[in-house]
């Protein structure tokens, strides 16, 4: 074999240092802002824990993937993304929908399959879509979001000039998703056509039960842009401020220079792949590492240490998050189920003659 120096151990992945080594409390962030970040992280945490509970109570069905452990990543990325920007996500999308400004009520109602849900109850956990906030979809097929996200960035080049006020696209994907052809094809297109897009690899170290080292020949995923001359950046996903700053810088580059960026955010998935996965394949050590890194209690402790919050204030924030989620569950419970009469709504945008509307077993024609 030729000289092969690529690192294959877990250590090599973790060794990359967060960009900002300074303690968080000394970064000159206004206290109110830090507090607000904690409120958001706490809301996502409460929402996801309750989703898991509602799944166990069969209020939620299908697949349900949580952002537990990824709260700092979600909050940091969404803080950097402007309202005018477009967002594409995979199926682990609840936190992003919340941070895009959708109410916990509407997100929970989607999980409950109700008409008041983000996608009218038709999409479920994996398929949140909201035109108004430019949340252009959760996608259940691995990598499915990457080509359309690239296409939105292409469309932007027809409609606006590059600049600080220009719109950009953020396309999220998991570490495991960097192995699908669509990722590589899209990066090539984005590099070739100079598109205003930031590809964000949310590297939670696992795709289902498979580690990055067992699935990617180049496990330093930010380097995978090299073939397309797309610069790669790696950032500590447990550090909300570092994530925000890295994402801002990447988005700025996309807007002003029309150069795509590949941003790799290092975080942990606290639990199984989806709510039904007990993650038995994970060693006790790995689980302990993930739990130790848990960004929500860590950020809380940091803010308390820095005097931004005291215990009582932090507890109040957590209680408020919990209360909001309780209200969301109540709203979802009370919301109506979609009516079977509306089964065929939205299949086509342009009405067409003879569009199917038969229920199972209906005769094919009443011409007889």
């Amino acid at each position: 074999m030729a000289t092969n120096t690529r690192p294959r151990t877990a250590d090599s992945v973790e060794q990359a240092e967060p960009q900002a080594a300074e303690p968080r409390e000394q970064r000159g962030e206004p206290a109110g802002q830090l507090r607000s970040y904690y409120e958001r992280m706490s809301l996502i945490r409460a929402f996801e824990l309750r989703s898991s509970e509602m799944y166990a109570r069969a209020k939620i069905g299908g697949y349900c993937h949580l952002n537990l452990g990824e709260e700092a990543t979600v909050v940091g990325l969404m803080e950097a993304l402007q309202a005018r920007d477009y967002l594409f996500v995979g199926y682990r999308d609840h936190g992003y929908a919340l941070m895009r400004g959708l109410s916990p009520e509407r997100v929970m109602a989607e999980l409950f399959g109700k008409t008041t849900g983000v996608s009218g109850g038709r999409g479920g956990s994996m398929h949140m879509y909201d035109t108004e906030t430019r949340l252009f979809g959760g996608y259940g097929i691995v990598g499915g979001q990457i080509p359309p996200a690239t296409g939105v960035a292409l469309a932007l080049t027809y409609r606006q000039k590059p600049g600080a006020e220009a719109e950009a696209v953020m396309c999220l994907l998991g570490d495991g998703t960097t192995n699908i052809g669509a990722f590589h094809e899209s990066l090539n297109l984005a590099g070739l056509w100079n598109l205003p897009i930031v590809f964000v690899v949310v590297n939670n170290k696992l795709g289902m039960g498979t580690t990055v080292e067992r699935s990617s020949a180049e496990p330093e995923l930010h380097k995978r842009g090299a073939s397309y001359r797309i610069p790669g950046v790696r950032v500590d996903g447990d550090d909300v401020i570092a994530v925000r700053d890295a994402a801002r810088a990447a988005l700025d580059q996309a807007r002003t220079l029309r150069r795509p960026v590949l941003l790799e955010v290092m975080c942990y998935r606290l639990r199984g792949h989806s709510v039904v996965d007990p993650a038995r394949y994970r060693s006790a050590d790995d689980t302990a590492v993930a739990q130790k890194a848990d960004p929500v209690p860590a950020f809380r402790a940091t803010l308390i240490a820095a005097g931004v919050l005291d215990e009582a204030a932090a507890d109040a924030i957590d209680a408020e998050a919990d209360a909001r989620v309780t209200a969301a569950v109540e709203f979802a419970e009370k919301s109506p189920d979609p009516s079977p009469d509306d089964l065929f709504a939205y299949v086509y945008a342009t009405p067409v003659a003879n569009a199917p509307s038969a229920l199972p077993g209906d005769p094919v024609t009443d011409a007889l």
Binding site: G113, T177, I180, T210, P340, L343, A358, P360
Partner: protein, 340 residues
């Protein structure tokens, strides 16, 4: 253990999942050219636990965990098959096979004939389909007809644990690419499975229940619903025959036609969408083959033609059910509906 005294009964009641697992194991033991490849089949033991224990027993060369790269690893399996390996690919669900469809349709299916008979592609692609678990539009599809349409592929869809065993054994030993369709809702279904080597004949349907009044033609999960409906209707004095297709390509047209010739009535029960679906092919076969023996038009019970919504209320309305099948059977036989 093969050396122990044969005290186990010749027939055991096991799940469809276990039948698949045991068959994979038996074939791995029998032929060193057999290997398994797919996402999460090793360490994770399979998304639906079909490959549980096999990595531990056979090691990572025989049970290969692949990255999320369906086009890549399905195509790689084709290449391995071209030189005589017998890969058994697991695609997590049929929905994800769309990413590999070029390799399957343009390559695996074509090679033998297009290269003048010089090469064979002895591989199996196992994958479950089916809706009904609120997995929403992209994860609930029944795309079997896409593959059943393609010359050069063989497509089987067992409905019982016994057939899962016998058809999988046949598929692995077959020298052509075989699409092996499983169904999410069948994995935990139990049935009697004979011990020892069982090799089905691909291309043959089975009459799984005999009757004289009407033939229900179905496959995979649909067959279990058809049998359930047939049993209910028996209590009302209706004698329903159930034809389990087992093989969607090739299609056993003779068995279908012989059944309808006898009963004079036919209903197709299918999980895919109505237009251009499996039922369309069955109805056409019956129309062309035994039109003169029909006492009523052939009817189809298929899924409503929508991307399947997540909400349970809509999912239930869209999927073909036992109730819809029962109603249509009554309509065809012109007997009074139950609840009116």
């Amino acid at each position: 253990m093969t050396t122990e005294m044969r005290t186990t009964p010749a027939i055991r009641t096991i799940t469809y999942r276990q039948a698949l697992n045991e068959t994979l194991r038996a074939e791995l033991l029998r032929d060193e050219n057999v290997f398994l490849i797919g996402e999460e089949i090793g360490v994770f033991e399979g998304s639906y636990k079909i490959t549980a224990g096999l990595l531990a027993e056979f090691g990572p060369q025989r049970v290969v965990d692949a990255p999320i790269a369906e086009e890549g690893f399905v195509g790689a399996a084709i290449g391995a098959a071209m030189v005589g390996m017998r890969p058994v690919v697991e695609i997590m669900t049929i929905n994800f096979s769309l990413i590999a469809i070029d390799q399957i349709v343009n390559h695996a299916a074509k090679m033998r004939s297009m290269y003048g008979g010089q090469v064979a592609v002895p591989m199996v692609i196992r994958m479950p389909g089916g809706g009904g678990q609120q997995l929403a539009a992209t994860h609930s599809q029944n795309l079997e007809v896409w593959y059943a349409h393609i010359p050069g592929l063989k497509v089987v869809a067992p409905s019982t644990p016994a057939d899962a065993k016998a058809l999988l054994t046949a598929a692995i030993r077959d020298d052509d690419p075989v699409i092996f369709l499983e169904n999410l809702s069948l994995y935990s279904a139990k049935g009697e499975v004979p011990d020892g080597e069982q090799v089905a004949e691909i291309g043959k349907a089975a009459i799984v229940r005999t009757g004289t009044d009407l033939s229900i033609v179905s496959y995979s999960r649909g067959t279990t619903t058809a049998l359930e409906v047939a049993r209910q209707l028996e209590a009302e004095g209706l004698s329903i025959e159930v034809v389990d297709l087992r093989s969607l390509r090739p299609l056993d047209r003779d068995t279908i036609c012989a059944s309808v010739r006898k009963t004079g009535h036919a209903v197709v029960f299918e999980d895919d969408w109505l237009s251009y679906g499996i039922g369309a092919e069955i109805s056409a076969t019956i129309g062309e083959g035994v039109f003169d023996f029909l006492d009523a038009p052939v009817r189809r019970v298929a899924a409503a033609e929508v991307p399947l919504p997540y909400a349970k209320s809509l999912e239930l309305a869209a999927l073909p059910s036992a109730a819809a099948l029962s109603r249509v059977v009554r309509e065809v036989l012109n007997v009074a509906p139950l609840d009116k």
